[in-house]
């Protein structure tokens, strides 16, 4: 043992320690005194108050769920409402024999036998006084049947509840979304107490993104119950002293969408039995006028609750009805990007209005024999830029493609918002893809990193790596319509506090303008699109015929697979799923545009024949010429 340092004074140190123990233990005694005083206060002074609260009559706080806000279209027509319905509930603490009760309910076919264990678990895990929902919506017949048997089911009763209802169901399902049963994960995310007494929450679309505004704030009542759990009037005992005051729930805000129900219905009808999507935008505000994806589904099934077979049918259906093609479907944009590439070509000096090309129906790169085919096998003859847009001549764009260069294409398409999420106020957007040399370098492994001239050639007609969503195309073409003024697409135009009637407007969000060196270039792109629909040789002149207003459009036909060299392209022989996608973008009126539309019909073969008439119908409807206003 080492000797201690000589300066250590053991006696004084011990005295110091004893003094410190005395000091700390007196503090401890003091603190413990506070706890004892508190216990005396609770258990002696306020004993009667607490005893009454706990023993004779028990009080409990019952959550009063708020009423969910309604959703309207731009003209005030209801898209989502709350309808009264009866649901079957069970209060565990009032049920004498849980197993027996559940078995007898299953025998009456009010609950499924395979759900019995699940309900047992729910009844045991939650507070005993909290109702467990057994069935969300009872039919009139079920209510009648149960009413007769009710005395035999102590603790089980039907309760009126509000159930979400979507009067136009499938036509607005992909924009408005739906509510579904609140899950454990939802509760964790949203915070448990705010959702006490609520059984549903927004799962997709507007219902999900604006959950906070739509939900409102939970209220609560102090409910006094006797020993059996039966509610007694709260004024019969003076227990209110220590109870928190009752609080009425604050209903959720109503939302006014920019959607036009008429357009939704027209688009849904036009896409009936097709797989496709339509997006319409007000170019001068970014307000979404229509957002439709087909096939659709009935959102009411989610609100009411469906059985596993129904859900499996939706989930496993090959046509994918739950998939929102308007914002999640990424398609090769095809020739719909040509107006924007015309701008890129003019601005970068790759072409001018005088430059012409002789189109023979195909194009080959120097020192190569590979033929890049035009959609028209016999060719378009000699065309300039305006004619190339009007007739959608591929060879003209093939020829100038390498003069524009892929990175220039990327730069201009990027300015129009392609390759980025648009920021629309519903979730799940696909970002799309606009390739560049930098992108290929970053994405591919060693051998495939180099960008080839041939890839630029096919990029000039929106093929190859390029992908865009219908929403992106609508937004991009809206920017052409405004000559470079951009707005972020959005669905909610206003919200309204239902208590005060106070309206909050959601103003358009302006994005950075596209500034061209020569503003005249816009005229070329727009005039070309005008001729597509209303010129003598326009590819979609059939769809543009007999109109009382001027319009602009561009067709696109996106290859799903590439046709081998010199092979005859025969639609009849190709399985439907391998047919080309039909695309069309348009806006109207030509001067002072009010609507921009993007349409895609999967495997629709021809943009101008299949997709263009749908775009025309939407423009006619919105501009007040009726669906068949011109005929």
């Amino acid at each position: 043992m080492r000797l201690l340092a000589p300066i250590k004074d053991h006696h004084s140190e011990r005295r110091l320690f004893v003094a410190r123990v005395a000091m700390t233990s007196s503090m401890a005694i003091l603190l413990l005194g506070v706890v004892v005083a508190r216990l005396v206060q609770l258990q002696v002074i306020n004993y009667e108050l607490f005893a009454e609260q706990s023993q004779g009559n028990r009080y409990r706080i019952e959550a009063v769920p708020p009423t969910r806000g309604l959703i309207y279209d731009r003209k005030g027509r209801v898209l989502a409402e709350n309808l009264p319905a009866y649901q079957l509930e069970m209060i565990p603490e009032q049920v004498a024999d849980l197993d027996d009760t559940l078995l007898r309910l299953a025998a009456m076919q009010l609950i499924a036998t395979e759900d019995i264990d699940n309900f047992k678990e729910l009844a045991r895990s939650g507070p005993r006084f909290k109702p467990v929902t057994l069935k969300l919506r009872l039919t009139d017949e079920e209510i009648a049947n149960f009413a007769i048997q009710r005395p035999r089911f102590q603790g089980v009763d039907f309760q009126p509840r509000l159930i979400r209802h979507y009067p136009h169901g499938p036509a607005v399902a992909h924009a408005v979304g739906y509510v579904g049963a609140l899950s454990k994960e939802d509760l964790q995310r949203l915070g448990g107490s705010a959702y006490a007494g609520t059984a549903h929450t927004g799962k997709t679309g507007i219902e999900s993104r604006y959950e906070e505004q739509l939900h409102g704030e939970v209220g609560y009542d102090n409910v006094v119950t006797n020993a059996l759990g039966r509610q007694v009037p709260s004024d019969s005992r003076d227990l209110t002293e220590a109870l928190p005051a009752n609080q009425a729930p604050a209903p959720g805000d109503d939302l006014y969408l920019s959607l036009d129900l008429d357009l939704q219905l027209v688009a849904s009808k036009a896409l009936e039995n097709k797989r496709g999507a339509v997006v319409a935008i007000d170019p001068w505000s970014g307000e979404i006028l229509a957002l439709v994806s087909t096939p659709s589904f009935d959102p009411n099934l989610f609100a009411v609750g469906m059985n596993t077979a129904q859900y499996a049918e939706l989930q496993d259906n090959l046509t994918r009805p739950l998939f929102n093609r308007a914002i999640r479907g990424a398609y090769p944009p095809g020739s719909t990007i040509k107006p924007m590439l015309a701008l890129a070509a003019l601005e970068s000096g790759a072409t001018n209005l005088q430059h012409t090309t002789l189109c023979r129906g195909y194009f080959t790169l120097p020192n190569s024999t590979h033929r890049y085919r035009d959609w028209r096998p016999e060719g378009h003859g000699r065309v300039d830029l305006l004619e190339a847009l009007t007739q959608s001549c591929d060879v003209y764009f093939y020829e100038i493609s390498n003069d524009i260069g892929i990175d220039n294409m990327h730069r201009y398409l990027d300015m129009f918002g392609l390759g980025h999420a648009t920021g629309i106020d519903i979730s799940g957007e696909h970002e799309g893809l606009v390739p560049s040399t930098e992108w290929k370098q970053r994405t591919f492994s060693d051998y495939d990193r180099k960008w080839y001239p041939g890839e630029t050639v096919i990029a000039s007609i929106g093929q190859g790596y390029m992908l865009a969503t219908p929403l992106q195309l609508a937004s991009a073409i809206a920017t052409v319509a405004t000559r470079g003024t951009r707005y972020q697409p959005h669905l909610v135009a206003a919200s309204e506090n239902t208590l005060t009637g106070e309206r909050t407007m959601y103003p358009p969000l302006k994005l950075a303008d596209i500034r061209l060196n020569d503003e005249q270039s816009w005229d070329v792109a727009i005039e070309g699109m005008h001729a597509v629909m209303q010129g003598a040789r326009g590819t979609a002149r059939a769809a543009g015929a007999n109109a009382k207003y001027e319009m602009a459009g561009k067709s696109g036909t996106a290859q799903v697979f590439s046709v081998a060299q010199d092979e005859e392209y025969d639609e009849e022989l190709i399985d439907e799923l391998l047919r080309d996608h039909a695309l069309f973008v348009a806006f109207a009126p030509l001067e002072n545009p009010r609507i921009a539309v993007a349409v895609i019909v999967e495997n629709g073969s021809s943009g101008s024949r299949v997709a263009a008439p749908i775009a025309r119908q939407l423009m006619d409807t919105y501009l007040g010429y009726g669906v068949h206003g011109t005929q």
Binding site: R20, S25, V36, L39, V40, L42, Q43, A51, Q53
Partner: protein, 379 residues
């Protein structure tokens, strides 16, 4: 009786000691301390049986945990303080390494990394509950007391480092308890009074800083304490129900297994953090005061052992272990009766669960070792 023990040892006669006493002496067991602990654990098991809803399986698992913890205490009691002191820096260092490992590779559970799985699953922060006061006592052992300013700074650094690591998990409750156990060593070693006053003044901006550092759920707990009725369906529910349980127990309680708040499950976490409310409801004021007296006895015995200890390390360590035990008792009872925010500190030796019990009992093992080995140390 305790005073007579040294004489007995010197004389070598065992006549006034019973056989039991002689065996305990040889096993380095302190009789009064063991008695107090067993009474607390016994009362705890009785209450726990009621709190777990007379579930025999859960109750027996707690009995097994208690057995393991007592065994741990006996083992630690056999290690002489000299031995403990020599290994202290290595233990502290190992603890720090484990804390860093927890932050980088620990299991994530409910948003926090607190557990480490190396063969056995444990919380390294538990090690620090003992390692921090041991390290502080080790540092002061051969230095003259009261400590000088520079030494104080070193001590604060030794305490702050593990505290911050634990707070990052995040586990603010344990972090504060670990910091307290180290600070108590410094206070007992003679931290100047003016220093403590300065700290008290600095605690105002310190509390503000802590508020910025706290997670949302922790802020909510403090806010709910100030006004439990502000969120009666959520965070305020525990406190409201706990107060009703304690208050309705009155002087004599509703009787064992008869507490309606606890048995009808109105009271949340009744077998863990809120078990004190079950005692209050079922055994009344008399029951909780009896338990508090038992705690006071154990703490008093611990402080007595500290004052009897022959060297600085043992003295400071024994004092810190005893007073930290008091802090556990105080924080839990004050929290359950609605005086402090809900910080998730169990009622020591009574709440269901084994992790903290092993650490506590190891601490008492150290106390016993210090007391029984004191005559074997040269002066």
């Amino acid at each position: 009786m305790a005073r007579s023990e040294p004489q007995l040892l010197e004389s070598g006669k065992a006549a006034p000691l019973s056989d039991l006493g002689r065996i305990m002496r040889r096993l380095n067991i302190d009789g009064p301390l063991l008695g107090g602990l067993l009474l607390i654990c016994g009362l705890g098991l009785v209450v726990l049986y009621s709190a777990v809803g007379e579930n025999m399986r859960l109750w027996l698992s707690q009995v097994v945990r208690l057995g393991i913890a007592l065994l741990g205490m006996f083992i630690v009691a056999q290690m002489p303080p000299d031995f403990l002191r020599r290994w202290t820096p290595w233990g502290f260092l190992a603890g720090l390494v484990l804390l860093v490992l927890v932050l980088t590779t620990g299991e994530v559970s409910q948003g926090a990394r607190r557990w480490l799985d190396v063969g056995i699953r444990f919380q390294p922060s538990e090690i620090m509950k003992l390692a921090v006061p041991m390290m502080a006592a080790w540092y002061l052992h051969e230095r003259p007391l009261p400590p000088r300013f520079g030494q104080l700074m070193v001590l604060f650094a030794l305490i702050v480092l593990p505290t911050v690591l634990i707070a990052r998990q995040p586990d603010l409750g344990t972090a504060l308890l670990v910091a307290a156990s180290g600070l108590i060593v410094i206070v007992l070693a003679g931290l100047p009074i003016r220093f403590m006053l300065t700290l008290a003044v600095l605690s105002v901006p310190g509390a503000y800083g802590l508020w910025q550092f706290m997670e949302d759920y922790q802020k909510q707990r403090v806010l709910t304490l100030i006004d439990p009725t502000s969120d009666p369906l959520g965070a305020g529910y525990n406190i409201i129900q706990s107060k009703i349980a304690i208050g309705s127990g009155g002087l004599f309680g509703k009787g064992w297994t008869n507490g309606s708040q606890a048995q009808l499950k109105y009271l949340p976490e009744r077998e863990t953090d809120f078990i004190f409310a079950v005692i209050g409801e079922e055994l009344g004021l008399l029951g909780v005061l009896s338990l508090l007296c038992l705690y006071l006895f154990v703490i008093g015995r611990g402080l007595y052992i500290a004052m009897q200890a022959p060297d600085t390390f043992s003295r400071l360590l024994a004092g810190s272990i005893s007073l930290t035990f008091f802090i556990y008792v105080f924080v839990n009872t004050a929290m359950v009766s609605g005086l402090l925010p809900v910080v998730g500190v169990p009622l020591p030796l009574v709440s269901f669960g084994g992790t903290s019990m092993v650490t506590l009992m190891a601490g008492f093992g150290i106390l016993m070792s210090i007391h029984s080995h004191r005559k074997l140390l040269p002066h």
